[in-house]
Symmetry: C2
Subunit: 240 residues, 2 copies
């Protein structure tokens, strides 16, 4: 796990793949590396930011905001397909993509001034695919790409990074029917490898260190998955 | 992330710390290494196994079992404090420890013959602490220990390994009040590092490879956490 240092604060239109390749000049890229990029970095260069000063809160937002800024909740509601749970000002929402997470993934920007919110990328799988293609053009290497974000969990404290967008690697390893080391068949074991890689990368990216990307080397994963493979289909969802 | 090869199939009373130290003879242990050990290995040496042939299913087990073996569901129910959701034969249960997971963590043993089930350790934090102490005695090194297991997630497909028991490292990194790289204060960001380490280790342990332990080196974590720190308190749980 190799953190990529030296990527500056990002804004719309920045050439993120070029900045990542520059930050990786010491280690370079190998075929089969997995590049993990924080969602916030991707969203910023894609212009997925909202200025609170331009937001007018709705009645629903005022109700859900509690003591907090209703304009933030208004932005959350605009990113929301379905409110899964609300305990003002906490909103657990399903986004248009199908992610279930706090605040529909809407996040403070950490930038100067406090009035900017960052939304999730419109299509995280497409963002991951574009990054992968451009890194390939710049380096000649076939890497996998994950666009990651920190999600809470229903019954566990703290956040763990997960994969929103995936390109060039499997999202899930399906061991259904494979034999274990003793020769017995494993039944329906599906491992969310892309989420585990995202979480592993978080360990070296940190939250306070401002490192928006990391390389994970040596995993030897083959296949083509998508972040949306990791979404639980509604008919199998027991908790909505 | 270093997988520890060569640990044999385990049974009750085996000296797991000695087997782990033997398996790590090439890399050795460093202070601050985090040793991740699969729950199933810990449970087996602790004798937390049940033979199905000795189980008499209750009426409730017969109802929940669907077409599957009601004796297995009976064992699940005995490990259950509260059934959170049931869609026969799937049971999502809160265990006596407070974990919310499929089948109360009860798992097939993968061993010869199919009539043995493996339960979660009685006190995973105590199991982790004993492993840490014994590794310290055998190697003179101060390592952290995580006892890990594969859990499903409410709204995401596939499993991700999490930390059931923790010793010698923090379970959660609390960034509340810390400054990010731009000098802005982060609010209430709590990162479930022990879960992320467990997931990272799973990437090298695999499911089919029979590698019950791995070392994670270079994380530089300090503090004393417990697996039970990762449990969401009931009053903050929106999904039960």
């Amino acid at each position: 796990m190799i953190p990529l240092h030296g990527i500056p604060e990002l804004e719309e239109g920045d050439d993120l793949p070029a900045l990542i390749v520059g930050a990786a000049h010491e280690t370079g890229f190998d075929d089969e590396d997995v590049l993990v990029v924080a969602q916030k970095a991707v969203s910023k260069v894609e212009g997925r930011v909202v200025h609170l000063s331009r937001v007018q809160p709705s009645q629903r937002a005022l109700e859900l905001a509690g003591e907090t800024d209703p304009r933030r909740i208004e932005v959350v509601l605009r990113e929301t397909r379905e409110v899964v749970r609300a305990r003002p000002p906490l909103v657990i929402a399903e986004t248009a993509h199908g992610f279930v997470c706090a605040s529909a993934g809407v996040d403070a920007s950490n930038e100067k001034g406090t009035d900017t919110l960052v939304l999730l990328p419109r299509e995280p799988d497409a963002s991951a695919a574009r990054l992968r293609e451009r890194i390939g053009e710049l380096t000649g290497r076939e890497v996998g790409v994950i666009v990651s974000d920190s999600f809470g969990r229903a019954w566990r404290r703290g956040t763990s990074d997960v994969a929103l967008g995936v390109s060039g690697i499997p999202a899930i390893l399906d061991l259904d029917g494979q034999l274990d080391s003793m020769g017995y068949e494993l039944h329906a074991t599906q491992i969310a490898v892309a989420d585990e890689i995202a979480g592993a990368a978080q360990l070296v990216m940190g939250k306070t260190d401002g490192i928006p990307a990391a390389l994970v080397r040596g995993l030897n994963l083959h296949g083509d998955g998508l972040g949306r493979d990791l979404l639980m289909p509604h008919e199998r969802d027991l908790f909505r």
